[in-house]
Amino acid sequence: MSEPTKLQKLEKIDRRWVFLVMLVAVSIPLFVSVDLPLKVTPAAQSFYDSIEALQPGDIVYYAADYDPGSKPELDPMLMATLDHLCRKDVKIVSACLWPAAPPLLEAGLNTVAVEKYGKEYGVDFVHLGFKEGKENVMVQLGKSFRDVFPQDYYGTKVEDIPLLAQKKANGEWMVDKFDDVKMIVNISAGYPGTKEWVQQVRSRYNIPIISGCTAVSAPEYYTYLRSDQLSGLLGGLSGAAEYEDLVNLPGFGIQGMAAQSLGHVAIILMILVGNILYFINSRK
């Protein structure tokens, strides 16, 4: 058997060299400033327009359905959307269907609503915590928030939370179901997430939904965006960057665009070089 040529050896190169190339590509922006112009997609623009159309005093249901694995992609969306909502003086009823999500939501609310805007917990926003039950919880929330969450994340009874304790003249709760809120804002990393919110809640309760999701989920959700079942969509870190640009709040989304751009270029080069080597070697 003949000795493999240099190109054949290169095709079978130790994968740790490939890892090194990737590491170098995503690390370059740490050392060199790379300014790239951002272009806002219609999906991100409609997400922004949906929140922009809200009036002061309106209430949104904020569903943070992700965990630390998706934090780099989705935290920038969480921070920017909370900022936009607080800036618009919109009240927030928030909860999670992912068990590891509540601390992420709590950190976002504390940083943006409390520290930056001085909002008062229980009056301007509330964190109901996590509830197991997935789609069943979504459906039940449309009927009664307090049936699903008798207490908030901190163990306070919902009757003692001013935002949820007000009653109408007819004795019904003012804020207790999806009929009482203007929109659902969902930050989603998978199941249960945007797909289930659309399938279980959008038509049943006729409530607009906007979604910020991981890049890998975004292609599936374009279906819902085009059919107006989603009123806006942010896909991955690039979606977060576009939204940060729209709300004029440069953060990790915009900062991460240079690294992601170079990472994508590196992967494309890997595909091309790998196939060129394969093509040359298979002809020999």
């Binding site: 994968r15 590491l23 780099p72 590891a100 039950g133 049936d147 163990g155 992967i267 595909i271």
Partner: protein, 226 residues
């Protein structure tokens, strides 16, 4: 009978009830109650899951099977977080204890900010899970170089679409060519949308068909083998 007929009867009754809800508004109250039961049962299933993880790992430790050391770490982490997040708050609630239980200035009981639970979450769980997902980028790069071979028309279409979308979704795409993000958007909005919509509608029809078979008692595989 207890193993097959009774579960089948419950499934059929509950299934039909959830359908009837849409046609008789009065039934909504009862269906709502059933949904609440479902939430409670799902929560109980999580407890069963935790119990199963504990059983498997305790067995592994007691028999000193391969990699049993990892099971020790898993059990220690699980017990610690359950004690801090569930057991301590439960004890405080049952005995009406309102004073703080602090260690090194941080609350021992509870899951909110300022507790040891959140400290462990922020300093261990977040970076470890972040690291696992970050590794994906390196494995994708490796797979792109070593495994993604353009050998057929299908693979060529996939590669071309993937390259356009990857480069069009980041700002560097428009720096290379001003129409790149537009082309990427077109791929997402037209061919991707058509394929995804077809899959979704097909899956939905399949779900309806399976659902009907289950609530009519035709489909019984979910009852198990024996």
């Amino acid at each position: 009978m207890l193993k097959r007929e009774v579960p089948l009867l419950i499934t059929i009754l509950v299934g039909w009830f959830m359908v009837i809800e849409y046609f008789f508004p009065g039934a909504e109250k009862w269906s709502s109650e059933l949904q609440n039961w479902a939430i409670i049962m799902t929560a109980l299933a999580s407890v069963l899951g935790v119990a199963n993880v504990a059983r498997i790992n305790m067995l592994k430790i007691s028999r000193k099977q391969k990699d049993w050391g990892y099971s020790v770490v898993l059990m220690a982490g699980m017990i610690l977080m359950v004690v801090l997040g569930t057991l301590f708050p439960m004890i405080k609630s049952i005995f009406g204890i309102e004073s703080s239980w602090t260690l090194a200035g941080m609350e021992l009981s509870g899951v909110t900010s300022g507790t040891w639970f959140t400290q462990f979450y922020d300093s261990m769980f977040v970076p470890m899970q972040g690291t696992m997902f970050a590794l994906l980028a390196f494995y994708i790069a490796s797979a792109a170089f070593r495994s993604f071979r353009i050998r057929s028309v299908d693979a060529t279409l996939l590669a071309v679409a993937a390259i356009i979308v990857m480069i069009g979704r980041v700002p560097i795409g428009d720096v290379m060519w001003s129409g790149m993000s537009g082309l990427s958007d077109w791929i997402m909005n037209v061919p991707n949308l058509a394929a995804k919509r077809a899959i979704l509608i097909g899956a939905a029809l399949g779900a309806i068909s399976t659902g009907l078979k289950v609530i009519m008692g035709i489909e019984r595989n979910f009852l198990g083998g024996d």
